[in-house]
Symmetry: C2
Subunit: 283 residues, 2 copies
């Protein structure tokens, strides 16, 4: 058997992964959903042919999108996760006993169902009693919310297709409004390396900068995403991701992690000059 999944990272770059077998395929109302087994990465999920997660490296993305804000914010009781139907962000969030409620807003219920059945590694905690699943458009869901969430995690797909609305100025403004006074929003921020991604990244970044007084970008090594150099955005009303980071408090929690640690927290905000220029040019 010689079966390969190939993703075009640009028109001129492709990453191919040897597939053992396809375990799921469906066309939902919103997108094409596929799940494969591979030797190198274990099971992996694609949406419209774009890599969402692999069992081998999803811990990097999910730890970095959750533990960075959790180690900064003073007291997180109520969290909103937009997208993230795979359950990976929720899995990391439920490790915090102080969190009382997690609203997961996923537009595509079929993603949740598929992940529950075929990706138990990420979806395992979607049944936690603190998790409320809303089958809804995140863009619309957040419009009616005010001063309600201590943390909003925007675990979206790319800025085209179903996830497009989650990169708009209207959306960021509504997230700001939906946050409590000490709240923060974290989003997946695309990659700086390939111009086709970087242009969308810069545009979204400018909108976040315009919507929040504090906005910083951090990075992680995610080998199965285009270029392997992935960015996240941290935006808040007044909490600063470095000045308000308490390494001792994080360590005292004794949470076992495979990527994140207190040194990584600080190091992740140290961006290469070429990325800084991209972000500052837009400010």
């Amino acid at each position: 058997m010689d079966l390969w999944f190939t993703e075009k990272h640009t028109d001129n770059v492709k990453l191919s992964i040897k597939v053992d077998r396809q375990v799921y395929s469906a066309q939902s109302e919103f997108q094409r959903i596929d799940i494969f087994d591979s030797l190198e990465f274990g099971r992996f999920l694609t949406l419209d042919g774009y890599m969402m997660l692999t069992e081998k490296d999803e811990f990097i993305y999910h730890e970095m999108i959750v533990h960075v804000p959790m180690a900064v914010l003073p007291q997180v009781k109520k969290v909103l996760v937009i997208g993230g139907g795979d359950g990976g962000a929720v899995r990391e969030l439920v490790r915090y006993p102080e969190i009382q409620q997690i609203d997961l807003v996923e537009i595509d219920a079929q993603v949740i169902e598929a992940c529950k059945k075929y990706l138990p590694q990420t979806a395992a905690k979607l049944d936690d009693p603190r998790v409320i699943i809303h089958e809804a458009d995140g863009l619309k869901f957040v419009r009616s919310k005010k001063d309600e969430y201590d943390l909003i995690i925007v675990d979206s797909t790319d800025p085209f297709g179903p996830g497009e609305g989650l990169f708009t100025k209207e959306f960021y403004g509504n997230c700001f409004k939906a946050l409590t006074a000490t709240g923060a929003m974290v989003n997946q921020h695309e990659s700086p390396f390939y111009p086709v991604d970087a242009i969308a990244m810069q545009r979204a970044h400018k909108r976040i900068v315009d919507s929040f007084p504090i906005s910083r970008v951090y990075q992680a090594h995610i080998p199965t995403y285009p270029s392997g150099h992935w960015l996240f955005g941290f935006a808040s009303k007044h909490g600063h991701p470095l000045q308000d980071f308490d390494a001792q408090k994080w360590k005292a929690r004794n949470l076992k992690t495979r990527y994140y640690n207190d040194k990584i927290h600080v190091g992740a905000f140290a961006l290469p000059n070429y990325v800084k220029r991209m972000l500052e040019e837009m400010e």
Copy 2:
């Protein structure tokens, strides 16, 4: 024209780059040398079919292998570069006026000739009067050296083929001997992500740890290398890459860089837990 260069990162993962045309191809005494033009990465060099550098992202590798040690060491007058026939490391080194001599030891003179002709972006400074090119095996060259170099940069190929000797205990021991009392060795340290690379990386790391009292690993985002998560090793007799790093001194130099900066210097040494475990397990 639909021409693609494909590199297998493992048996189960391939990265493919669209090629406009091949501009050079030769079989030297040591290896197959190829140079291509591409739309996405500009011109790029492969040895035995493995990506060595692209015009688009070589600055990341060369800045990180040179400026990290240069920002730590007190006074660097004499440098040994082993491998690095493309000239990228030399290009960054000649920016330091205090460096008086750079011995470049490249086993394959044909690599130097090809890069001088086809990759002027990296090879431009190989004619600097401080540079002495030795067409020799680095493993043998360093055997006779004692207390001579303030910095040794091991800019090798992978730990198989012509570069294999540059990952041996004998070689690291000889580098230690060849360094001055304040000297340090920096090497390209492979990637931690794919097991096939990580095993070689761990083995080499253990040998460096056994040969030097101080040994630390740092990382960079290099999109065209396997996984994009690339490691470097810093090993010294007593200089510490963080405690002896002087950010003010670096900034005062006013060297323009596209990746490296003082925050990156510190952040690059913040390794993910999964990488730390790999390195500590071997210590």
